[in-house]
Structures are given as structure tokens and as C-alpha cells.
């Protein structure tokens, strides 16, 4: 008896409570798709907002409603595959991305025009006084992007220029939203050639305020229409599917606003003055080589023409030496 009684009492309490809960569940129930919970399990829980929805739960809810499943860049392809599995749809390929600060003008290259005093935030500096930098498109350097980055991927050069360390970046795109000048762009991680300037001022103005600003000379676009486009006085790389890197384009950029990751790593590209010298040398080399090639072509064409003429007229005078050949050798 002394054993059965407690068991009975407890079971009774449990039964009453259980019944109460069952009734309550009926009246207070909230419709929830079981898939939402399943999706919450596999999403990375970073709540970063890269997908454009408020947190992972927001994305999970929208996923069930049928939005693009390839929006979770921190999760990567694995997550996309799992999402596709849960929702029973076809998996899509997710291109891994990294954030890129599209400005190369530290204080040494794009000087400040004034001293900024006020709240230590780019947003505030830009809103209140149009920023301390002479260039009105460039990086303010007060670190709004670094503040929102939870992976410490945003760093600064000695000259107060923000840059993203690609190895630490999880592509959450928080910094993209934080930058008041919209300098940060998500780019495919496998691309190596980037334009590091966002200035939309006419070339003349840009040149006056920054040594490495894009002057919209269109040399890059002329060289490779498929990869570069110049719009609003600003060159940018076409990162769309199918386009590819053209390292040689980096060499034709007169101010050196195009960075080629195959040649330099980002930090030395941004900070080391020697790399600009090296770039100039490489540019000169390229120019010389191309000129030589052009000259050779011309010479070949001329020779062919001459041969043709010779065939027609055996006694034609000898062609003078091509002047470009000598110049090209310099």
C-alpha cells in the first residue's frame, strides 16, 4: 500500500496536468511547419542576415514558403544540399564568396582633408560631415565594418584603410550593410582580379584626390569586354557566371587600381610602396612586349606584302626598316 499510493498519486497528478496541457495545446496551438524546425537544426545559427532575412529562423520560415535555397553563404554547399534534402528540391551550386573592400586609398594615397572629431563611427562621420577623406567615395576607416564582423576578418592598414582577410571571412555580408559608403562587395572566392576603387567621380576629380583611384580610362574594358565594365565613371569586374579572370588587365590599369591576387597578396598590395614600383615595371614590360609583338606582326605583314609584290614585280625596291622595331626593344 505504502508503495502503490505514491505511485497512484503521482500518476494522478501527471494525468491531470497532462490532460490540462492537451486541452491547452488544442486551444493555444500555433501552426508550425515541422520542416521549419528541421531547417533550424541544419542552418548555421550565425543569425548573420546574409540571406536577407532576419536571422536563421527568419530564413527557415521563408524557405518553407519557397524562396531561393542558395542564400546561406556561411553554411556553404553542405547546408544547401541539406536544405534541398529537407525541402525535397534540387540542390543548387553555391559559389563560395568573400567580402572585398573596394577601396585601396589609405591616408598615404588618398589624403584626409580635415580632422574628424565626433563619434567614432563611419556612419556618423559620413552623415554629419561627409567624412574626413578628400575622396567622397573612399574608405573612412573608422571601423563600422570591423565592429559588425564577428570573425575578426576586417583589419586595417597603418594608413587607416579597411580590408577583409579572405581566410577568416565567412561571407555573412554584415560588413556590406554596415559600410555607409557601400564599398564592400561580396565576390566569388575563386576570382583573383578585382578593381579596388568605387569612386564615381570623373577621372579628373578622382586623380586629384587619390593616387590609386579608378580614372575611368576604360583601358581594362577595352582589353576585355567580357570581364570588365565601366559605368558611372567607375570600373568594375563582371563576376557573373562564365566570365573569367584576365590577369593582364591588371597591368593596363594606369593608376593601379586593379589588384591581381596571383601576383600580390592584399596586404602588401595595399601597404607596400615597392609593389607599385614593381607594377609600373611590369606595366612597362607588357607595353614593350606588346609593342614588339605589334611591330613583329607589322613586319611580317609587310614582308608578306613585299613577297607578294616581289612575285608581281621582281624589281621592287627594298622596304625601309620598320621604325617601331627599335622603339619596341626599349
Amino acid at each position: 500500500m505504502s508503495l502503490i499510493l505514491p505511485i497512484l498519486v503521482l500518476s494522478g497528478i501527471g494525468a491531470v496536468m497532462g490532460a490540462g496541457l492537451a486541452v491547452a495545446a488544442k486551444f493555444l496551438s500555433v501552426e508550425e511547419d515541422p520542416r521549419v524546425e528541421a531547417l533550424m537544426e541544419i542552418l548555421p545559427s550565425a543569425n548573420c542576415g546574409a540571406c536577407g532575412y532576419p536571422g536563421c529562423s527568419g530564413y527557415a520560415k521563408e524557405l518553407v514558403a519557397g524562396v531561393d535555397i542558395g542564400l546561406c553563404s556561411p553554411g556553404g554547399s553542405d547546408t544547401v544540399a541539406k536544405i534541398a534534402d529537407i525541402l525535397g528540391v534540387e540542390a543548387v551550386a553555391l559559389v563560395p564568396k568573400v567580402a572585398l573592400v573596394r577601396c585601396a586609398g589609405g591616408r598615404n594615397l588618398a589624403p584626409d582633408r580635415s580632422i574628424y572629431v565626433g563619434p567614432s563611427s563611419c556612419k556618423a562621420a559620413v552623415l554629419v560631415g561627409a567624412g574626413p577623406k578628400e575622396c567622397r567615395w573612399g574608405c573612412v576607416g573608422l571601423g563600422d565594418c570591423a565592429e559588425v564582423c564577428e570573425d575578426d576578418a576586417v583589419d586595417f592598414t597603418e594608413d587607416g584603410l579597411a580590408f577583409v582577410r579572405a581566410d577568416l571571412c565567412i561571407a555573412c555580408a554584415r560588413c556590406v550593410k554596415a559600410c555607409p559608403r557601400d564599398l564592400i562587395q561580396m565576390v566569388p572566392a575563386d576570382r583573383k582580379v578585382h578593381v579596388l576603387c568605387s569612386s564615381q567621380d570623373p577621372g579628373k576629380n578622382t586623380k586629384a584626390v587619390c593616387q590609386v583611384g579608378c580614372i575611368a580610362c576604360k583601358l581594362c574594358a577595352r582589353r576585355d569586354k567580357a570581364s570588365f565594365v565601366v559605368e558611372n565613371n567607375s570600373a568594375s569586374v563582371l563576376y557573373e557566371e562564365g566570365s573569367k579572370d584576365t590577369p593582364v588587365a591588371a597591368l593596363v590599369c594606369t593608376p593601379g587600381a586593379i589588384w591581381d591576387a596571383n601576383e600580390d597578396d592584399l596586404v602588401s598590395w595595399l601597404t607596400d610602396p615597392a609593389r607599385r614600383e614593381a607594377l609600373k615595371e611590369r606595366q612597362a614590360e607588357l607595353k614593350a612586349r606588346e609593342r614588339a609583338e605589334r611591330a613583329a606582326k607589322k613586319k611580317a605583314a609587310a614582308a608578306a606584302k613585299k613577297a607578294k609584290a616581289d612575285k608581281a614585280d621582281e624589281s621592287g625596291p627594298a622596304e625601309p626598316a620598320e621604325p617601331g622595331t627599335q622603339k619596341g626593344g626599349q
Binding site: R113, S114, V117, G118, L127, G129, R136, D201
Partner: protein, 447 residues
């Protein structure tokens, strides 16, 4: 017996530097950069083309909307460029550049008319066409102030002759030298508004100006001169109304919500020119002063003249300049190059020496409450500043940061040297930006 408001501060006035210097004319510039945005509201729309020949006073930009005014050519010559140029507020703005032909020839102007012979509407039209804005610093289009909605009656018009900003003496000199002109413009404005009372508020530290104005007023019906206590910001619209009439402008409201319109001395002088001669606003008196210039002066300069010309006319820099400020030391904005052109609202060019500059570093709030005592709007700058600094916008709600007039009393009195005005400006702009974003999102949802 002088009147005043509650709060405020007593900075060093330094008016004696330039108060003795009579107004001189600054020669017209060789090249004038005339900004199309010289007022609050929509920037004017360019009405001239490149290479076009213009006469002095010709319209360069048409008003774009009701809260906007036209902009006129300050010199005669050729339009060489319509492009982005540095604005005194720090950003690049569209401006018309004119190269002088040396003639300085007026365009065709209407014949001289007596203000008494014009109707109220005619006066208002002339004021709008002359591109007149509040010359006290805010540059709010004057004709908008003269068009109260029909449900609001204006019983009093105030002439803001306090000139409470330290250093500046342009209004002081203008009243001493041309009191009739100021008064005539003021009376024309009263006529437009149909206001019964007209009060001229002058701070006690300008006895000559007060004497001149009292003499000019004489026995004009319904006009009186009020002595104001010397205190900053006595010349703030809301403070002036509080001091003279004891009325309070409601939160988020305008002086016309309590039956008052306030006009500045220089505005009145410009109104007289516009009404009497039909001359547009192309020049104004600007004080060039500070320990950093050789001989402080009051100059009548053309709009679009580079600041450098003003400094040259004052004998150039004395020593190394620390900071050049357009406007007064309390509310003026620093510029980074003296190539910046002046605009209609530039009432002062102040050059501070490096020693006079406040330190750039600031500390944490020590909660001493001096700013609360100094705030003429009776806000809590300490709390507002703290929340702005860490961007806690939710908490900022209900502290009425939008009512801040950015007078700088709080920052002046802060022992921790906190840039409170910058904080509040940031907060106001941020709130406005968020509101715009919310509105955009709303309209997107509707579509």
C-alpha cells in the same frame, strides 16, 4: 531693464576686434563660384548654359519648388562651367562658375519704387524673385516664412538684432551705418504679414546700434526696441521669442505656431534692396575676424567669392592659421580650403590660431550636469550624448533630440570636451535617414 531666456552661456565675445571697422566694399571677384544650393530646401535648377554671357543680377538658377529660391549672377561675365564644386558645408554641390568681364554691369532692373506703394503680395513676389533667404545662418527661404497657413494669424514680427554669436559684428555695423534701410525692409516685411506689433531685439553690448535704430524708429507706430541681456544664444529664434514675448514655440513647431515671425537684420536690409530697387540678393556684409587675421574688417562681398579674397582684404593671416570657420565660433562650420566660395548665409569668416583650438580628444561624461543647465531648449544633452555615442537609438526616443537647435552651449560648457553637437547632428540625420528608409519600404510594400 533687459530681458532674456533661461539657460545659455557667456562665452568671450571678442566683438571689439571688428566692431570699430566700418563696412567696406570687397571688389568683385575675377571668378565667382555660385552654388545652386544656398538655402534650405530644393536646390535651384540651373537656368543658364555654358559659355552664356550673363549680366550682374541675372537669374542663374530657378527656384525648384515652393521651399526654394532662385540664385543670381553676382558679377557680369561668361558662364564657364556648371559642375560640382566644394560647398561650405563640406560636400560637393552643383555650382555655376562665372568668369568676370570686368564690367560689373547690372542687368535690367525695375524702376525704383517706394515700398509703401506696393501691395503685400507684390512685396512677397519681389522678395521671392530676389532669392532672399534668412541671412542669420539658417538660410531658410524668406517668402516661405512670409506665407503662414490661413489658420495661423501672425500678431508680432521680431527683428533679430541680437547677434549673439561671438566675434561677428556684421549686423551691428549694418544697423549703425544704414539703420533706415534695415527699418524700411523690416516694415515691408511687417506689411506682408499684417502683424500689429513689431519689436527690434538688440543685445545690450551694442549701444551705438541700439541708438541708431531707436533714432530711425522714431515715432513709427507699433515698433519698439527691446534691450536684451547679453547671453548666447539670445539670437536663437525660440530664445528671442521667449525673451521678448514670453511665448514658447511648441516641440517640432515653427515660430508661426505661436503667432510670431522672426527676421534677421541682414535679411531686412536685403529685403529693402529687393523691394525698393528690385535688386536680387548677390552681396552681403561679412565679418572677417579672429586672432588669426591681421586686421579684422567688415566687408560687403559678393556671393561666390572665394574665402581667400576675404582674408586677403583683412590683411591676410597673422601667423599660422589654426582653423578657418565660416559663420561664428559657436555654430559655424570649419572649412579645409580657402578656395571655398561663400554663400548667401556666410555672415562671418573667423580665423582661429592653433592655440585657440579645443583639443580633439574627448572623455567620458562625468555627469556634472553643466550642459543641462546651459541648454536653452531645456533638453538633457548629457543623456542624449551618452546614448548617441553608443548608438542606442531606442533609448534616445523621448529625449526629443529633434528639438536641439545645435547652438553648441552644451559642448561649450562640457568639461570633458565631448562633441555633443556632432552627436546630436548624427542622431538627427540618422533618425531622418531611418524615416526615409521606412517610408521607401512602405511605398514599396504598397506597390
Amino acid at each position: 531693464m533687459s530681458v532674456s531666456f533661461k539657460g545659455g552661456i557667456h562665452p568671450d565675445y571678442e566683438k571689439e576686434l571688428s566692431s570699430g571697422a566700418a563696412i567696406e566694399d570687397l571688389p568683385p571677384p575675377e571668378r565667382a563660384v555660385v552654388h545652386l544650393s544656398q538655402h534650405i530646401g530644393a536646390p535651384a535648377k540651373a537656368a543658364v548654359k555654358k559659355k552664356q554671357q550673363v549680366q550682374k543680377g541675372e537669374v542663374l538658377g530657378e527656384a525648384a519648388g515652393f521651399v526654394s529660391v532662385p540664385v543670381h549672377a553676382p558679377i557680369s561675365g561668361k558662364v564657364v562651367e556648371i559642375a560640382l564644386h566644394l560647398h561650405p558645408f563640406g560636400s560637393l554641390q552643383e555650382a555655376v562658375v562665372i568668369e568676370s568681364d570686368g564690367e560689373d554691369q547690372w542687368c535690367e532692373l525695375p524702376p525704383e519704387t517706394r515700398p509703401e506703394s506696393l501691395s503685400a503680395d507684390e512685396i512677397k513676389d519681389r522678395i521671392r524673385d530676389a532669392g532672399i533667404v534668412g541671412l542669420g545662418g539658417a538660410a531658410f527661404p524668406t517668402h516661405v516664412k512670409l506665407s503662414p497657413p490661413p489658420d495661423k494669424t501672425i500678431d508680432t514680427i521680431l527683428l533679430n538684432a541680437a547677434e549673439c554669436e561671438p566675434y561677428l559684428t556684421a549686423d551691428d555695423r549694418l544697423m549703425q551705418e544704414e539703420p533706415e534701410r534695415v527699418l524700411s525692409g523690416f516694415l515691408a516685411l511687417r506689411k506682408v504679414l499684417g502683424a500689429k506689433d513689431a519689436v527690434i531685439g538688440i543685445e545690450e553690448n551694442k549701444p551705438e546700434a541700439m541708438g541708431a535704430m531707436e533714432k530711425a524708429v522714431g515715432k513709427v507706430d507699433g515698433v519698439r526696441v527691446a534691450r536684451l541681456h547679453v547671453k548666447y544664444p539670445q539670437g536663437g529664434e525660440k530664445q528671442l521669442i521667449d525673451a521678448i514675448l514670453g511665448r514658447e514655440v511648441p516641440t517640432g513647431g515653427l515660430p508661426m505656431d505661436c503667432g510670431v515671425v522672426v527676421q534677421n537684420v541682414a535679411t531686412c536690409a536685403a529685403v529693402d534692396d529687393a523691394v525698393r530697387f528690385g535688386r536680387p540678393l548677390i552681396s552681403r556684409v561679412t565679418t572677417v575676424t579672429g586672432q588669426g587675421v591681421a586686421s579684422p574688417v567688415n566687408l560687403r562681398g559678393r556671393v561666390g567669392t572665394p574665402v581667400q579674397a576675404f582674408i586677403d582684404a583683412a590683411g591676410g593671416f597673422r601667423g599660422n592659421p589654426g582653423r578657418v570657420v565660416l559663420g561664428g565660433p559657436m555654430m559655424g562650420g570649419a572649412i579645409h580650403t580657402t578656395d571655398t566660395p561663400v554663400i548667401k548665409s556666410t555672415g562671418g569668416v573667423l580665423v582661429l590660431t592653433p592655440e585657440e583650438l579645443p583639443p580633439a580628444e574627448f572623455d567620458a561624461c562625468i555627469r556634472c550636469g553643466r550642459c543641462v543647465r546651459a541648454c536653452p531648449i531645456h533638453l538633457c544633452p548629457n543623456e542624449m550624448g551618452n546614448y548617441c555615442e553608443v548608438e542606442m537609438w531606442d533609448q534616445l526616443e523621448g529625449l526629443n533630440v529633434g528639438d536641439c537647435i545645435e547652438c553648441g552651449c552644451c559642448a561649450f560648457s562640457c568639461p570633458a570636451n565631448r562633441p555633443l553637437v556632432q552627436f546630436f547632428r548624427y542622431a538627427k540625420l540618422w533618425i531622418r535617414q531611418q524615416a526615409a528608409l521606412a517610408k521607401a519600404a512602405q511605398s514599396q510594400d504598397d506597390n
